[in-house]
Symmetry: C2
Subunit: 280 residues, 2 copies
């Protein structure tokens, strides 16, 4: 995971920060106590979601809505659902049976703080809450959004990527560059792409605009994962070296920017987020 | 869990069995290999779902659709989604950090067969697949069904019930009869109620019929859990004795039957399922 604070050019920082606080408030509402929920569970869910993370995915989601002429607000449910899914995957990934991570986002991981059983259930609850959220009234194109997010989170996306990762870790499978890229594409790329697509759907994008957004998401998603590898010295970096990977990241980001050029000024947030990735 | 084979009166056995095979075929289709999914993950998901379980919840679901004038088929996606959610909860519940169960449905539990990490991911994948399934075209009242299932599976339902159960197990909380009933109502009752309600929604029930179905589900769900306690000697049985619990189960089932009496002959499957519970 990338842990840097977000640094963007001064002009638009304020605007992106406004989006961040819009997202933080929406997440907080989403995780406000539900009648009949055990308080200890609600507390643990909030611990994992609130006050951590750079909100890259939900920012892409609200940015994509605006890029196609929608409002950031109408993409907020989708944005929150995606952040809950991203967080659930981190909580389960950190478990002793998986990555066995003691820390996450600069503090104790969920199972270190609340115990393993609770961490399993917190992940389950976050995933369920994500889909509950999307099933409420008022989400434009809700079914299509749900399908895009479901596919990106499922066996051909996020969960499938985790399984491939596991198999690499255990040495059961030949893990060449192809396998590493495939793992990255699913574990990280699929949900980043879905963030952009879901935002576009919430903003009622035309099919042409949606195709552009999807391609932007795919390129950005791969760049994101490769940049992660550069920070960790993992994956492709070991195979082809840091400089080669850096060049590839820059090319992917340039191509991503070109993809959304026809969307004009309204795509400013997507552009800022791609710029941020280029310089962090 | 109840493990008896299903025994119903001869006349309708054939009809319920036809439903069971309808459900089995639908589950098998739902879990047929998805393009891009790791085969090992797909295999583990099938191992957990196919060829086990009495399909009580999906039977209630298709039966409820027929009870309000719909076809069993139009409730099949909801029925499968519910069975996937039920199964995911068993897979996670069996994990060493939770109940640490070596066996499930007469064979090795998921983590004993595939390892803990895989079992965590299999549960995640089944839960995600359930919502993916509901987001596909052709499910009548899909959003309402999703909301009903989401709420029943979330923090105020299934997952919340697991947390209460955990707290009882760890002795952190005073676990009197009220807490035990509350835990049962959420852990088991909520999803059984949602099975009946989702079937009704898929069958396009009127709001009056839906209210009847909900009440039927609530009574049956509590009876189901109490009967479970009788088999295990758990919960209320310890507090008030086997005979008292048995009388309560019979009363609940009688009341459930009365609730759906106005639905007439079309509710035959629901009646059979309640009868089955009364004699098993």
């Amino acid at each position: 995971m990338m842990c840097q604070a977000m640094s963007v050019s001064p002009v638009t920082t304020r605007q992106l920060e406004r989006y961040v606080s819009l997202i933080e408030r929406a997440l907080s509402r989403t995780l406000s106590p539900v009648k009949g929920s055990p308080p200890h569970l609600e507390e643990a869910m909030r611990y994992c979601v609130i006050g951590g993370g750079k909100r890259f995915r939900p920012l892409l989601c609200v940015g994509a809505s605006e890029a196609v002429g929608g409002s950031p607000r109408q993409a907020l449910s989708a944005a929150c659902a995606i952040e809950l899914i991203h967080t659930y995957s981190l909580v389960h990934d950190d478990l002793p049976a998986m990555d066995n991570a003691d820390e996450r986002r600069g503090r104790a991981s969920c199972h270190r703080k609340f115990g393993q059983a609770m961490a399993i259930l917190v992940g389950d609850a976050l995933l369920t809450r994500a889909f509950e959220l999307l099933s409420r009234n008022g989400v434009p194109n809700a079914m299509q959004i749900m399908r895009a997010i479901g596919e990106a989170s499922g066996t051909a996306g996020l969960v499938g990527g985790q399984v491939l990762d596991l198999q690499c870790g255990m040495g059961n499978v030949e893990c060449g560059m192809k396998q590493l890229e495939e793992t990255a594409r699913r574990k990280t790329g699929a949900l980043i792409t879905a963030s952009v697509v879901a935002g576009g759907l919430a903003g009622r994008a035309s099919s042409t605009a949606l195709t552009r957004l999807r391609q932007f998401g795919q390129r950005l998603g791969l760049a994101f994962q490769l940049r992660d590898d550069v920070h960790d010295g993992d994956g492709l970096v070991k195979a082809v070296g840091r400089n080669a990977v850096e060049r590839r990241v820059q090319t992917l980001i340039d191509q991503a920017q070109q993809t959304i050029a026809p969307l004009g000024q309204r795509a400013w947030a997507l552009r800022e987020l791609a710029d941020w990735l280029a310089t962090n």
